[in-house]
């Protein structure tokens, strides 16, 4: 596969960058995320997560099931702060 392939579309992270970090011993999704911003964007790893995990699995010989993804956190999709504030105030009334 072309190493310039974008793995994380939110943060423009390439396969090359991911492989370079794995080669340097960054062997978990969380570690790679913290350096490259992979999975930090609006999709929260829903696109890139499996791709990164597969790269780690290929490099370490672990199965994908053994590897840990980052902790899933709210919200499921992006929500405007103002709408949350408005709803919160409506509930308080």
């Amino acid at each position: 596969m072309d190493e310039n392939t974008i793995i994380c579309r939110c943060s423009d992270v390439t396969l090359k960058e991911i492989r370079a970090l794995i080669a340097q011993g960054y062997l978990s999704f969380d570690e790679i995320k913290r350096i490259t911003r992979v999975g930090m964007g609006p999709c929260q790893g829903k696109t890139c997560g499996q791709l990164v995990l597969r790269e780690i699995a290929n490099a370490t010989g672990q199965s994908m099931a053994e590897l840990q993804f980052h902790q899933l956190r709210p919200p499921v999709v992006g929500v405007k702060l103002h709408l949350i504030a408005e709803e919160a105030e409506r509930h308080e009334e």
């Binding site: 570690e31 609006p42 956190r73 702060l81 949350i84 504030a85």
Partner: protein, 382 residues
């Protein structure tokens, strides 16, 4: 993993990595760092990515100035091939009460005595610095241009890589399970991956430090508490400084990447180690931002997370060699600002452990200050 070490450091967040680097760069050998998860997985990795010199105690002012001066040259000093993303884009501290403004004025006197270039600013000037700030609800503000943003992951990574190049051994996913003490002195540590013989243990585990101290029968006067943050989608650059308020209870800044990072504290948080996310935080944060910086309310939140503050009774850290147990050192109780104090933490601890002349006097931060009642509380913490 080595089975013998001169020094074992517990925790590979900013403090642990900086202590490891500072020891190694001063010539210490055989240093092993134990991290129960991955590098930067604890409080550092969950922090708000800010650093400031606008503090209320002389000690914190001096320590933050020392750290800031280090950060200004950290890429070069640590020979980092990445970028720690230092941006001295300022901290604007906003007040909505007279009482808070009076505190700002007092703080600025302390800051000026330490050579920190902070100043009071009028609401008009605050509005020029942050045009979308709702100054109608404010009474005044203080500002320091030299404060700003710093990437916690990359900064820790820079210390980690520099320490590793100097021969420090990092063991991730390696949990400390016990500390062996004989005749009042440390002789080794037990981990889930085996035993390491050592005479020196440095507790840099911040939120988890109380449990580690208990292993040698030491009770630290600390508690850990969840603090939450959220981040928005990235947008075009629209805000230079961190905006911080104690009474209105928020801090918010735009990262160089474009996303807004914001947090607030909650005095009703239980004192434990939970790091889950709460709906309550999201609502309170959204209401606060909507009121103080309305245009930011139009941005979408993409993630919220939680990290732990390790609170000390006077909101300042403890740097000490614990008297009861020979060979046991602590760098703990950072009360929410351990990341930005990283350089000073590493320097103070390395010099203490190696018996070198201290380059900054941190003797007031001894553990014994609590028993002696010599607290000097930091008034300005979110």
């Amino acid at each position: 993993m080595k089975n013998r070490a001169d020094i074992v450091i517990i925790g590979a967040g900013m403090s642990g990595c900086s202590i490891a680097y500072n020891l190694a760069v001063r010539g210490a050998k055989n240093i092993v760092v134990l991290e129960k998860s991955f590098i930067c997985s604890g409080s550092t990795g969950a922090c708000g990515a800010g650093f400031r010199m606008q503090w209320g105690t002389e000690m914190n002012c001096r320590m933050s100035k020392f750290s800031t001066e280090f950060f200004e040259h950290a890429n070069e000093i640590l020979e980092y091939d990445g970028d720690i993303e230092l941006r001295q884009s300022g901290y604007l501290m906003i007040a909505d009460t007279e009482k808070e403004l009076t505190q700002f004025r007092k703080n600025i006197e302390v800051q000026h005595a330490c050579g920190i270039p902070s100043r009071m600013v009028s609401l008009e000037e605050a509005k020029e610095i942050v045009p979308h700030l709702n100054t109608d609800i404010l009474s005044g503000a203080a500002y320091c241009q030299k404060d700003g943003f710093l990437n916690p992951h990359k900064t820790t990574d820079a210390f980690y890589r520099a320490a590793r190049r100097l021969g420090v051994e990092f063991n991730t996913f390696t949990e400390l399970t016990g500390i062996r003490v004989e005749k009042g002195r440390i002789v080794g540590v037990e981990t889930n991956r085996g035993y390491i013989e050592t005479r020196i243990v440095v507790n840099a585990a911040n939120a988890w430090s109380q449990g580690i101290a208990k292993m040698v029968g030491v009770e630290l006067p600390l508690y850990s508490e969840r603090h939450q943050i959220l981040v928005t989608e990235p947008v075009e650059h629209m805000q230079d400084p961190m905006v911080m308020a104690f009474n209105l209870n928020l801090y918010v800044q735009q990262s160089p990447h474009g996303s807004f990072i914001m947090g607030r504290s909650d005095s009703s948080e239980p004192r434990d180690l939970r790091r889950t996310s709460s709906w309550h935080f999201l609502e309170e944060m959204a209401k606060t931002i909507d009121r103080v910086l309305p245009p930011i309310g139009q941005l979408r939140v993409v993630r919220q997370w939680a990290g732990l503050y390790n609170m000390s009774p006077d909101r300042q850290p403890i740097y000490d060699k614990v008297e009861q147990v020979e060979g046991f050192y602590v760098a703990v109780g950072f009360s929410g600002h351990g990341f930005m104090f990283g350089p000073v933490t590493g320097t103070v601890m390395a010099e203490m452990i190696l018996g070198l002349e201290p380059s900054i006097d941190a003797s007031r931060l001894k553990l014994s200050r609590f028993a002696e009642g010599k607290l000097f509380t930091e008034p300005s913490v979110v």
